[in-house]
Each structure stands twice: as C-alpha cells, then as structure tokens.
Assembly symmetry: C2
Amino acid sequence: MDQDRELGDLREQVRVVTADIIRDVQKRMELARQIGEIKNRKGIEVKDERVEQDIRKMVLAISSQTGMKPDFALRLLNILLEESESVQAQGRQPPQKQTHLGIFMKAKQLEASGKEMIHLEVGEPDYPPPSAVGNSLSESFRLRRYHYTETRGIAKLREAIAKKENVTEDRLIVTPGGRFAVFSAIVSLLEPGNELIVLDPAWPAYKECADFAGARTRVLKTRFEDSWTPDLGMLEDMINPATKMIVLNYPNNPTGKILENKSVEKIVSLAKDNDLYVLSDEVYAAYSYGKQFQSVLEFDYEKTIMVSSFSKRYAMTGFRVGYGVADPRVIQQLNKIQAAGITSVAEPMQYAALAAIGEDHRDNVKIMKERLDYVCKRLKEMSIRFVSPDGALYVFPELPDIDDLELVDKLLERGVAVAPGSGFGDSYKNYIRISACQPLEILAKALDKTSVVLEEHA
Amino acid sequence: MDQDRELGDLREQVRVVTADIIRDVQKRMELARQIGEIKNRKGIEVKDERVEQDIRKMVLAISSQTGMKPDFALRLLNILLEESESVQAQGRQPPQKQTHLGIFMKAKQLEASGKEMIHLEVGEPDYPPPSAVGNSLSESFRLRRYHYTETRGIAKLREAIAKKENVTEDRLIVTPGGRFAVFSAIVSLLEPGNELIVLDPAWPAYKECADFAGARTRVLKTRFEDSWTPDLGMLEDMINPATKMIVLNYPNNPTGKILENKSVEKIVSLAKDNDLYVLSDEVYAAYSYGKQFQSVLEFDYEKTIMVSSFSKRYAMTGFRVGYGVADPRVIQQLNKIQAAGITSVAEPMQYAALAAIGEDHRDNVKIMKERLDYVCKRLKEMSIRFVSPDGALYVFPELPDIDDLELVDKLLERGVAVAPGSGFGDSYKNYIRISACQPLEILAKALDKTSVVLEEHA
C-alpha cells in the first residue's frame, strides 16, 4: 500500500515536470520564431553552426553535472534545434538541389522524347557483365531459383564472398546493391539526434540516409587546393558525444581520391578513441590506378562496416547486388532492417552474382584507366584544372567561371549529361563530375561539345 | 545594431530556457528510475497505456493553451515516454519474440543440417510462376537488361500496372516486393513520436517498420470471438493528434478475414475526419473465396497508399517485385526513400514481372481454395476452432491449452514448420498460422503429425 502511494506520488511529480518541459519548449519555439523574423529581415542564414556548438557545450556541461546520459541530452537538443530551424525557416524557399540521379532521370526523359543522349552523369560501365552471368540467368527458371532466401543471402554466395574478402561468414550480409548496406547501416545504427560525419564532396546517399534516420550530418569539407586531402585536426574538433559514425568513401566518388594509409589509420584511431562507427563505402575498390587501395578492414577495428558491390567491378549495376562486412552484432542489426524492408535479395540476382565472383575483371580496370587518361588529357588541353584520379570512374574538374547547374543544363540541351558538383556538397558548385563509363569515341564527342559550350560562355 | 542586440538578447533567453528544459528532463528521468524500481519490486509491467493516455491529454491541453503545434508536442512527449520506458526497463529481460520469418530461418538451418522439412510457416506458393516469366529471364542478358532503371520502375511495367489498377502512372511506384512499399510508406510518412494504428493480429512488418521510423504503434486487437471484426468505436477512441496512419491488411494475414465494405467505408471516413493516412496492404487481393474483396482505392480517399505485389498472385516471391499506389505527392516521397535505399528494382526482375502481368492466375486461386478447405476439414475433425478464411493463404486456428512456441518447437522436431500466433501480436499465443502453400498430400502429412503432437500433449 505504501508502495502504491509512493508510485502515485512519483507519477504526480512526473506530470508536473512534464508540464514544465512542454511549456518551456513552447517558450523556446516562440523565441525561435522571433529570431527567425530578425534573420529574415537581415537576410541571414537560419543555420548557425557556432551558436549551435555553444549550446551543445552548455547542454553537455549540464548533463555531466546532473548525471544525465550525454547522448540522450544531445539527441533531445538536436530535436529542439531542428524544430527551431523549421520554425525559423517558415516562409523561406528551400534551396534547389540537383543530384547526379536527378540529372539521370532528366536525361532518361529527354531520351524518351526522342533526344539522343550521352550519359556521363552516372557511374554505370557500358561494357557487359561476364558471360557466366548470362548463363546463370538463363537457367534460373529451370532450376526454380525464384523463392525467398535467407535474408542474409544464399549460403553459396555468402561462402564465396567470405572467401574473397577473407572474413568469416557471420560478418557478412548480401544486400540489394551496396547502397542498401549503406542505408541500413545508417538507419539502424543511428538514432534521431545522433550525428555522423561525412567528408565532402561525397555521394549524396549518406546525407539522404542520415535524413531518414533523423540524424544530423556534420560535413568536413575537403578542398581541391589540398588535393582533396581531409584536415584531420578539423575532423577531431567535430567529434562530440552525439557523434556516432564517420563515413569514408575511397576510392572517392566524385574525386577519385585514394587516401594515404596513414590518414586512414589516424581516422580509425580517432574513431576508436571516441567509440564511433566507421562506415567505409568501397564499391570502387577494384578500380585503382597506380596507388594501391587498402580496405579499411585491414585496420581491424571492431566498429567498422565495409560496403562493397558487384555493380562497378563486374558492370552489374542493374542486378542490384552488394554486400556489407561488419561485426556479427552489427550484421544482425542490418539483417533486421533488411528483413523488415525487403525480406531478401531476388534469388536469380544472387545466383548471377555468384556466377560473376570468380571472373576476371582486370580488363575492365584497364579500359577505365585508358578512358580516364583521355578525359584528363582533353581537360588539360582546355586549361581546366583537376586532380588526377587515383581510382574510381570519374574526373571532378573545376569550372572556369560558370555555375555547375548552368553548364549541366547547356550540355543537356546538346545531348550530354554530366553530374553537377553541388550534388556532392554545398561548396562544389564550380565543379562537375564526368563519368568515364563510355567508349573513347563517345567521350571525345561529349568533350568536344563541352569545349564548345565553355568557349561560347567565355 | 538594434537588431543585433535584440538577436543577442533572444539567443541568451534561448540558452536559459534550453538549460531549464534539459534539467527538467533529467529530473523526469530520475523519477522514471524510481518508478521503475517500485514496478520491479511489485513485478508489474513497465508500459501503462492508461497513465500514458492521461499525460497525453494533459500535454494536448497545454499545447492548445500555449498555441504550440499539438503534433510536435506529442512527438516530444513520445520521445520522453520512450526514454522513460527504457530507463524503467533497465535490468529487465526483454520479452522473447518469434515471428514466422524467424521460424523460416530456423527451418532452413535444420534443412541445411539434413532434416526434411514441410514449410507451412511462410506464404510462399509451391506452384511455379507463369512460363512467360521464364522466357523473359532467359532473354534478359541478350537484351542487355541489366542497367539502372528509373527509380519508380521501367515505363512499360508502370504502364501495364497502371492499366491493371485503373490509375494514372504518376500514382505508381514499382518496389522490391510489396514489403518495401510498406516500409517506405511508414518510414517516409511518419516522424519519430508519431503514432500509427495496427489491427492485430497482423503481419509483424508494420510494427517493425514503425520502430525504424521511431513511431509508436498503437494496437487495436481483434478477437476470434468477434470473427476478427474490429471494434470501430475503440478505433475512434485511439485516434489523437499524434496519430498519422491506420494500417489495413485485408484479405488478412494471418486470419484470412475480409472486412465488410461498410466497415472499410467507416474506417476511411474516420481517417478523413482526422487527416490520417490509410496504408492498405492488399497483397492477397487475388485470393478471395466467395466474399468479394474490394480495394481501398475504390473509396477514393486522397491519403490512401495501396500496396500490392507479384509474389502471391503469380507465385513470384523470389523475384521481389511489388508496387505502391498513392497520391503523386506521396509517391514522390516513396520514390525519394527508394532512391536513397536501392536506386531501382533489378531490371531483369522488372521485365519478369511485366511478362507475368497478362497471365491468368485463376488456377492458382482454385488450387489454394481446395487446400484451405482441406485444412479446415482436418482441423474440424481435430475439434480445433477457427474462423473460415474469406481469402489469403492461411488458417489461424485456436490452440487447445498449449502455447504456440511450445507447439511450434515440437512440430519443428517432427519436420513441420508453422508460424506462432504470438508473432502476429502479443495476445495470440494460443494460435498458430498454417500456410496452405503445399500440395494436399504434404498438407495431409503435416496435419497428421500435428494431430499426433496435440494428442500426446492432451
């Protein structure tokens, strides 16, 4: 009976303090509205990283005084900050964004309306997958390969991948494209209000997935002037108790950069010190030219998620088969979201991937190297600056005083699709990404047209 | 300058009120910890719907007094409630859950170790897809159908589906299984702290997806005694400003129930009055026996998302092709998450679905009806109670004093896999789901074994 009274009493206190919280939150939103009005009048940005950082420090100080879990405190703060931003931004136009995938869709529509189009906007090799893949497809119906499979993938494929990557099978999940491994890692490992760090310029998927997770993306910009090498001191400064993950993508899309091993080592050790996940998207690992690429797996850090794919290596983009390698407990979490989202990867596609895995891909790398060299040569002739790619399928040149979206539109009109730099980060609107996934003579034609457009503009 | 001072002043006030909020939240968590201790001593459940409902009402009252957005207030409250629950539950064992998919994985492992297994735990028809599907597969490599496609699906498939469903193409997205349409609808339309209502017993995916979205699932239980008809008065009572979606799944998995049209009409009108989404999972629509199934699309409510699939109708589970139909603005949101998660459905699988769409599936329905009749007859002979299924692929019988998990384990030992009722909702541990996706002679064998196990137990 005493306990019942105690319980009733505590519940009443909960009611009172909940009411206080809600009233204070409303007060905070009203203040945000007033701040938004002033910012609007003065024409300044809603988001202010410095102010946010100050408030974050204050919240952390309170949480350590009161014994509150710092990650929950920061999660809560981030939810308040987000709502404040949305209150402040009311009535403002959201900035226009265009990614390479958006341009791809636009180009596809132009094609459907009869226009000829050269696709240099996506990383989709033009050469075919190995012929063994075709044989596998042809026999899949006869062999009744059209059922649900284990969510993590059929045993044979997992065995083959485990062998290739030199890991045990329990550290592996087969996903519908490397993209889904990225998606499920971010969505299942991050909670609303958590933070992840992305090194810009970057494939936009990481930020998109973070948005879905309700996580905040903190961006570490890398610069052309530094040959796209990240400033690791700045990286260290960005880490706080809300930070949960660093995303790496080398060989990099869009720059083609491969990091020095000692940089990766330093990043992994920062992650270790701060108990962060390292999500390493290595779908371009097969394509390196000269500089040797080393997988993050070799640094042997428990909280690593390595993502790879059949799409680029074997030119199998449309089969949508990739995989993730991680600690078994993380794999279980990815498995859970994969079970919820798709049950399993289409069985015929898994067998197609299995057929590919023993095949030689070195010719693909040779072809791509030759093409990238050609693109670089032509850009040099046009006096356009770029950092020579160490790997991947792209060149990321700097534009001579023309905005990316303007150039992209002009090129689309002439039947050439390229990806705008701003799709890879807010600071890159004077860059474009050129994909070398077309034969030399097509690349030549596209670069001729680019040269004409730039001359007309100059 | 005046504005600068004003801004600085407002920011200082934001700091103060933020500090108050964080301190109060910590106070609330400390109270939750104390409540958790008492509950633990008294051995009572952490979650108390009545107490939550009271606090929800209070928060709504405050939000209407202060002009706060009620959905944000409730979102925030739900985040506090969740953290409280997790604080209170510290040190407790989480309840063990086992879904049909878990049993499927278990059964697959037993098979891999050499045990023969009859699969009555998943809804995977044993008959083959139409032969046109096989032809499409065989020619897909030659026709170079292995590229990225538009995220929403190839134009031809979208045209064919649009025609079949009698909708315009902009209301359509092709997904990797109906499951992904469910997943992306829930994850993209609900925010953390939002609520969705699920009618139990239900396919567990809805709750799993809600968990990923950080949304709260409110469960409306339906009962065997009411022939699985939902109490719409109770449904109405559950709706509050945090409610954003009602999930329907008829023909129902696991009960086979088809709702009366006037019930659906009433549910849609409740949704309309409260501005809720209706997510209607109709993947079993092709399988109705006698009672005519009417799609929710016919009720013409703007905020409807209808989900369908090729998996059950054409026995194409392993191809992972389904689709969603909704208002174009909703389709854009599903498209966004699909672009982030998978880029597009595997191209050969989309062509396989296209090949199926004109084919006759009526034989499949006839086969399934005969099997379900047989299962029902055998259960009746065993004096086991059930509601005769109006549609779908399952019977959901009540168990005579044996728990589902105990029966499931005993049957697994004898080489029969069935799905435990508790996987479809907390109140159904005295039910199992029997899938009729096997030939009559196999069903006979499985039911013989079931009968033996039950007699041994009695």
